[in-house]
Amino acid sequence: MANFEPSIVAFVCNWCSYGGADSAGGQKLAYPANVRLVRVMCSGRIDPEHVVAAFREGADGVMVMGCHPGNCHYRNGNHKTLRRFRLFERMLFQFGIDKDRFMLEWVSAGEGQKFQEVTMAMTERVRNLGPLVISGSVAQEISHA
Amino acid sequence: MSNLIQGKKISIDPITRLEGHGKIEIFLDDAGDVDKAYLQLPDLRGFEKFAEGRPAEEMPQITSRICGVCPGAHHMASTKALDALFNVEPTITARLIREVYYNLHVFEDHILHFYFLGGPDFVVGPNAPKQERNILGVIDKVGVEVGKQVIEIRQRARKLIDQIAGRAIHPVLGLPGGVSKQMTTEIRESLREFSKDAVNFAQFTLKIFDDIVWKNATYRDLLLGDVYRCETYYMGMIDSNGHPDFYDGNIRVVDQKGKEFITFEPKDYASIIAEHVEPWTYVKFPYLRKIGWKGFVDGPNSGMYRVAPTARMNVSETMSTPLAQEQRMVYEKAMGGKIVHSVLANHWARLVEVLNNAERIQQLIEHEAFLAPEIRNMNLGTPTEGVGIVEAPRGTLIHHYTADANGIITSANMIVASLANVAAMSMNIQSAAKAFIHKGNVDDGLLNLVEMAFRTYDPCMSCATHNLPGKMPLQVNLHQTGNATRSILRSSDGTIAETKINKEPNHD
């Protein structure tokens, strides 16, 4: 889907990945405007329900970013994120949602370049997949019965 | 009733007092007599497909949701399929606990049918007004005292099941190679008391059947008459010494004369049984593969076979317990010999089995291993394929799974008891319709006599289409070509009223 512009929501932790985004800004490292950030204090605060809500509200792809394991400002919040979303990824596949629509990445406050790379890679991946069409809403299905 | 013209259709939609959703379509010829009748089961859930991907050990609790009236049957068949899948023998204690649980389940399910679902047709009478033909009608007939006893014995049975299997509706005890919970002396004590009362209650119910049904000329004629008779093959599970057994054994099929057609082990079921698909119903019709599907006809060269209580009697010689065997001889003498084709005989055979269940419980709980802690055999093999078969209250129930090395289900196939009887039901319905509908005249007797044709099988439509959700009360639509369908409605107070339905069913 060459000309499709996906909307991507990225949940980022205040201390590391949000800082990474700021340093990408500081170094003027442009990345697709499709990616819009929602800040939380720690990646451990990000709940799979938030990711599902993003998909429900129309996101075609969702990213979760936190500090590199071992550097979490709150000791081990990111370890919980890793466990939660490795399990979440396995479940997404069962629901028939392509794994590439979700990305978990560690970006430290100094890694402006890495922030640029992962957001561009994610936008590209989701662009190739096209919009997340959840066919078969009740209204649509009932009408043809 | 005006004289109906050519090409009429009568729809009995839905049929009531059974488990599951059903509809009957009756087509009249020019003269207004019945040409063809079909029993239609209009729903599907797809257990066999969504089982794929589930961990094998979850199947006993998932498949019990195929039927809320006989969840124990699916739970047990599924558990036995897991034993085969993981190639593990359950410990002697586990087997005892399973058999006690399962006999309890069949006991209370049979009682539910006789007193709540199918029985009222008999106990209250086939042409009694509709609002009496239910448990309350039964209670009026047999007396409130007996009614209380019925409710009480069933409640005790279900309390015991709760203690053994966690819960009555959707039990949890089954695991590959064993069960989840060890028995206690208190449970055994209450089982002793219960089984003693259960034996008396079973004999008491057989006496009711004798007084109210067998001694009543009209019912006896229906029992022995031809309207509800069709000569099919019969299938049922028998243990190593030929007694009918609900929990374990091989499957025997006998022909119309009672001669053994074949006895096979559970793992070979797929080479014996095949299923036929019709576009107008979600249910499939199993038949004997070797003889082939010949449509809704009985007789030696039609692969149609039947299961359920009479079938279990026909495939076996004697009962596994003394009192039940006595009652079996009474039944066989009355029904004229060993092989019984009358559909309504199911009611009687079912009550003989109730007595057998009660006695079996008495025997099993006295075994010294019953209270032992060894409730699970933990060395499971790598799963490949497994077939588990039990006799559900309504007949032979087959679960067949394959799984990957990690124990995840890769395929599931289930042949459910009532499935086998659906074809026969259609035949009985058709013969009943033909017997009672002439010149397009419709009367209340027709509706109930037709329904009796299926109720006696105690059919479980949810099982039939494992598959199948609930259903709607009975309503007959007379289809007249060229103009509005006339709908003959049997309302709650039993009166017959006629209304027009403008929705013209297309005939393309």
């Binding site: 800004g25 003027k28 405007a33 819009r36 939380v40 809500a53 509200e57 709150y74 | -």
Partner: protein, 647 residues
């Protein structure tokens, strides 16, 4: 009428104005339902900008404001202060990062403007749901806890007590002293460590401000700077404080056991002290070896104790101490290269580590300072191998920096007892800095120490001969055949210490030592504010370095923990709704700071608001959504998601 939000757009000079069409945004904002007033300004963070914000907020009587400007990490605090000055709660100020995360990274102006609009919409959606967060202050505690009773811990305790603070020392052994108490010839002046420590130990014993908790393992360090709670498990000692260490019970005790203090080369009774003059002075009974605990009726110590200080009924206790700062001085462990075959170290041959050599030459050692071989005879020739197990692929990858001076000292110690002994030092580079060092080295060489240089110490092989002599093959040199070999080994942090790091949440550096907050500016601080590090747990240290670091750590703590000073508690904390909480306890183990406790009566969990740091992990963990993460509630986050997607 729902309370609306005042929107401020910041041009940031040209930084935003050039890339985002602020005029279009201002027009859009005027039509936006959620906005009551919108203003654009050149530099909101400048004094003029702040002035403008405050007057506008006052005039409009706004309840809340969204600042579409730079990163909150930069100026959220600035705008919060503006809010405080006009009587608004800081939580009512939110920001949309339209500079770093929009203008500077989106070259296409239209796209940048659209993105800015969605970020502003998200902030507007969120701001309506933001509730005031009351700020809470609490008085900082000024007492201190020292973990580790070696030279560093002792020094820290004394300095803090000197300033009048209450100090608790937690020591895992049964007495203070650490590694240094085992050394009699402190390099380079061969000062006697026990003699140096004795007056400091008694100072600690006499000082009312200092409490020593020995046989203690610290299990939890909760809270934060100014509000710590340290919890430790104190092993049962079975001897009360009435004991003055008179040793009357030693001799009658029938049980001998291997002494860890003497590195297994000596024994002591089941009732013992580490060394005479230990603090606490009371003896201790070893539960595994004492017959009483194996059902035997033995009462030997009770019968001989003049002070009836034996108490077999003592139980392990939990000790909980509140403090303002924690000084970690748990030291390092000697690295024993026993799994390197080329070292020939098997506890039977006459190959000893330097630590064992020290024990054999120390008056409080197993041989009353008499240097002897396994069979008791006096060695005539001794080889000392430098960098034993250090700077090699299969041992320590670093130089500990403190072992060379010991290796050179060995010659002096040997010759004091065995003047005629021949001492070889097999070395590569010598690490022995300081003006005094060269003089000391030349002095030893003149005294007879034979220096054998070897560029490849990793190839040196040590093997015991049938006759007990030790053969030492040295690449590029003649092989040696000596009576005894001493391995000069380095130091590392043991597993227990690494586990302790995770309890403290202090990071470890790549070599496994505790990591300073900043190697230059705050070397005795840790990443966790209020937890200081001193001594060998940071890096292998000479006594002088340990003492200096201890003094630095205490100095820094004292300068910040001034009595009466208050600390601001975290405002964005979580709280649990007791009506919904089912007491499933899953939030408790998810909390990185152990701030959640289970209330037995109420059968539900509660969060200790003083300890909670507001990370929100428990809110995501709660399976029934009973926990609200203030300022980052599910509703607020969902509102933001809707904003960024539909804005």
């Amino acid at each position: 009428m729902t309370e609306k939000t005042t929107l401020f757009l910041c041009r940031c000079g040209t930084n935003v104005a050039d890339f985002v069409d602020l005029e279009a945004l201002e027009a859009w904002a005027k039509t936006n339902a959620g906005v009551d007033h919108v203003y654009t300004h050149d530099f909101l963070c400048a004094p003029a900008g702040k002035e403008f914000i405050e007057t506008t907020l006052k005039e409009q009587g706004s309840k809340r404001a969204v600042m579409a400007a730079c990163s909150p990490k930069l100026h959220l605090k600035t705008f919060e202060d503006c809010a405080t000055r006009v009587g608004l709660n800081p939580a009512q100020m939110s920001m949309a990062n339209i500079r770093e995360q929009c203008a500077w990274v989106t070259p296409d102006k239209t796209q940048a403007t659209l993105k800015a609009r969605s970020l502003i919409q998200a902030a507007l959606n969120r701001s309506v749901l933001q509730v005031d967060l009351p700020s809470q202050h609490v008085e900082c505690k000024t007492d201190m806890v020292v973990i580790g009773g070696g030279i560093a811990g002792i020094e820290a305790a004394l300095q803090a007590a000197e300033a009048g603070r209450k100090v608790t020392i937690f020591e895992k052994e049964i007495s203070l002293g650490g590694e240094m108490i085992k050394v009699e010839d402190l390099a380079p002046m061969s000062e006697c460590a026990p003699c140096l420590l004795a007056p400091r130990l008694s100072a600690i014993r006499e000082n009312p401000n200092i409490t020593v908790v020995s046989g203690a393992t610290v299990t939890d360090v909760l809270g934060f700077f100014g509000q710590f709670t340290v919890i430790a498990r104190k092993k049962a000692r079975f001897v009360t404080d009435a004991c003055i260490g008179c040793e009357a019970c030693f001799e009658p005790c029938p049980v001998d056991m291997q002494s860890e203090f003497h590195l297994g080369m000596g024994t002591h009774k089941a009732i013992y002290t580490l060394f005479p003059g230990s603090v606490p002075s009371a003896a201790a009974i070893d539960q595994e070896h004492c017959l009483h605990f194996q059902g035997n009726e033995c009462q030997a110590c009770i019968e001989n104790c003049p002070f009836s200080a034996i108490d077999f009924a003592q139980k392990e206790e939990i000790v909980e101490v509140q403090c303002g700062a924690v000084i970690v001085a748990i030291g390092a462990e000697v690295y024993t290269p026993k799994d390197l075959p080329r070292m020939g170290l098997n506890g039977k041959s006459n190959v000893f580590t330097y630590a064992e050599f020290e024990r054999l030459t120390c008056s409080n050692g197993p041989t009353q300072a008499k240097l002897q071989m396994r069979n008791g005879t006096v060695p005539q020739s001794i080889a000392v191998l430098h960098c034993a197990g250090s700077l090699c692929s299969d041992g320590l990858s670093y130089c500990s920096g403190v072992c060379c001076v010991n290796a050179i000292m060995a010659g002096e110690i040997i010759r004091k007892q065995i003047p005629e002994a021949v001492v070889y030092n097999i070395h590569d580079r010598i690490v022995f800095p300081g003006a005094e060092a060269e003089h000391f080295l030349q002095h030893q060489i003149q005294a007879g120490t034979r220096m054998i240089a070897c560029k490849n110490l990793e190839q040196v092989k040590i093997a015991e001969q049938a006759n007990g002599k030790i053969n030492v093959t040295i690449p590029g040199q003649e092989p040696l055949c000596v009576d005894m070999v001493v391995l000069s080994t380095g130091f590392h942090l043991g597993d227990k210490a690494k586990q302790f790091a995770s309890i403290l949440n202090v990071e470890l550096d790549p070599h496994g030592f505790f990591k300073s907050d900043h190697p230059i500016l705050n070397s005795t601080g840790s990443v966790l504010d209020g937890i200081a590090l001193a001594g060998s747990c940071l890096q292998p240290s000479h006594a002088v370095q340990s003492v200096t670091m201890a003094q630095a750590a205490v100095g820094r703590a004292l300068s910040r923990l001034v009595p009466g000073r208050t600390i601001e508690l975290e405002t964005m904390i979580s709280n649990i709704n007791p009506d919904i909480c089912a007491g499933c306890k899953m939030c408790i183990s998810s909390c990185p700071y152990k701030a959640i406790r289970f209330d037995q009566e109420k059968k539900s969990s509660t969060i200790n608001e003083a300890i909670c740091r507001g990370c929100g992990t428990c809110a995501a963990t709660c399976p029934s959504n009973a926990i609200t993460a203030r300022h980052f509630t599910n509703e607020q986050l969902l509102a933001e998601v809707k904003g960024v997607l539909h804005g």
